[in-house]
């Protein structure tokens, strides 16, 4: 492993810009997700759509402690991009909520990806490798879940 001759101070000083961008990206991402979720919820207020009745029925099931809620609820969790897009096009509040939630889940992955770029810029190949491992674990989580 190559030894880094820069002092710790110089090392951290070289990080700032991209880390700042990242941190603000995250904050912006959180705000956007929160807005999407809030808007989506607002769209489902009673009277606005039939989604409210579906919610009421699904809620009844949930409160009974059911471990497998009905297909009605399941159908509102889009698991493909196509389904999500369809929901959004139909101005389905639930789809907007889901979009916000997915964005929230994606943010840490973005964070790791930016860290990867950081290591690439520093030509720290060992850590590029390690970060790639983390990224692949993150993605396999999603793939394996789908297979289940």
């Amino acid at each position: 492993m190559k030894s880094d001759e820069r002092t710790p101070l110089e090392k951290t000083a070289s990080l700032p810009r991209i880390e700042w961008v990242l941190a603000w990206l995250l904050r912006g991402g959180v705000l956007i997700s929160a807005t999407l979720i809030a808007l989506g919820l607002a769209m489902e207020i009673p009277g606005a759509s039939s989604a409210y009745d579906v919610s009421a029925r699904s809620l009844a099931e949930l409160l009974q402690g059911r471990s497998q809620v009905s297909l009605e609820m399941e159908g509102r969790i889009p698991r493909t991009v196509a389904r999500l897009w369809a929901g959004l096009s139909a101005r389905n509040g639930d789809a907007m909520v889901v979009l916000g939630l997915l964005l929230l889940i994606a943010l840490p992955i973005v964070r790791v990806a930016v860290t990867l770029v950081m290591f690439l810029m520093e030509r720290d190949w060992a850590y590029v490798g390690i970060t790639l491992i983390v990224l692949s674990v993150l993605f396999s989580g999603m793939i394996l879940g789908k297979v289940h």
């Binding site: 880094d4 997700s33 609820m73 916000g100 929230l104 889940i105 840490p108 394996l144 879940g145 289940h148």
Partner: protein
């Protein structure tokens, strides 16, 4: 008896339910920010004990809020240059693998087991809260040889002098193992597992306290995302639960961190330990009742 009936009738209304969840989540977020314990340990028991929701859906909803809080807190730590990125990423290999294992394992564990493990973890977490935060940091020269190899030693800005204080990292293999376990628990229980990560870092690995908090906060979000992906694809993250919880915890933690700048509350901490222990007992009781309603 009629009070229970009243409660059951009221919460059947989606608007009431969502609002209630939202408020409870705000409280969870505030407490989490004040006490350094994640919102997950409040959210999951609230959903399961108060509303009778199946623990799997509670965990799914809580995971999203855990991720959200971590991302929201990022700015502060980057600004303070406390996060040890290399250490975080290296340890993340362990936590994400743990989270993946946990997420795969979860469907095969009965609710009984989940409640029990949750209760035990809660007891442990409350005891950790009583632990005095003090770290005996070590110089770089005393780092574990692997830590040096992986360039994990770094430095952090000392508030008083403004200088960058270097520190070393001890007991790396032990730290890695604890991180794996933390990942598994995070995936099974929907918590951030800070109670495992932080003591491992500032206790065993001798990191400065602030560095360990910052690094742990970074890691919690990534660990959460590792299991959340699987949970979502399985359909265990229900928008009706995850949405108000995520919003509430986000709002609560930003409120809480504002308050934190002014108040220092050791008495709240002790009170909370008592509350947590009671909740832990409830969770274990539910486990002993076979995972059904106590």
């Amino acid at each position: 008896m009629s009070l229970m009936r009243l409660w059951s009738e009221w919460i059947r209304d989606p608007v009431v339910f969502e609002s209630l969840l939202f408020l409870i989540s705000i409280a969870a977020g505030i407490l989490g920010a004040l006490l350094g314990l994640g919102g997950g340990v409040i959210v999951v028991p609230a959903l399961t004990l108060l509303f009778g929701i199946d623990i799997r859906y509670a965990v799914g909803a809580s995971l999203v809020s855990v991720i959200a809080t971590s991302s929201g807190a990022a700015v502060a730590y980057v600004r303070d240059r406390l996060t040890n990125i290399r250490l975080a990423i290296l340890l993340e290999v362990a936590t994400t693998l743990g989270a993946l294992s946990g997420a795969m394992l979860a469907p095969y564990l009965s609710s009984t087991w989940l409640y029990f493990i949750f209760g035990v973890t809660l007891i442990y977490s409350s005891l950790v809260m009583l632990r005095p935060r003090r770290s005996e940091t070590i110089p770089v020269s005393e780092s574990h040889p692997l830590a040096l190899r992986f360039k994990l030693n770094s430095s952090y800005p000392d508030v008083v002098s403004g200088a960058m204080v270097p520190y070393g990292v001890a007991r790396l293999p032990f730290g890695v193992s604890v991180m794996y376990l933390a990942g598994v628990l995070s995936a099974l229980l929907g918590i951030g597992s800070g109670a495992l990560k932080v003591p491992a870092m500032d206790g065993a690995m001798r990191l400065p306290i602030k560095v360990s908090s910052a690094t742990s906060s970074f890691m919690i979000g990534v660990t959460g995302a590792a299991s959340a992906g699987a949970y979502y694809m399985r359909g265990d993250i229900l928008p009706i639960l995850a949405a108000p919880v995520a919003l509430g915890v986000l709002l609560g933690s930003s409120l809480g961190s504002q308050v934190m700048k002014r108040a220092r509350a050791p008495t709240i901490r002790k009170l909370f330990v008592v509350v947590l222990l009671i909740v832990a007992l409830q969770m274990i009781l539910r486990a002993l009742n076979g995972g059904g309603r106590a």
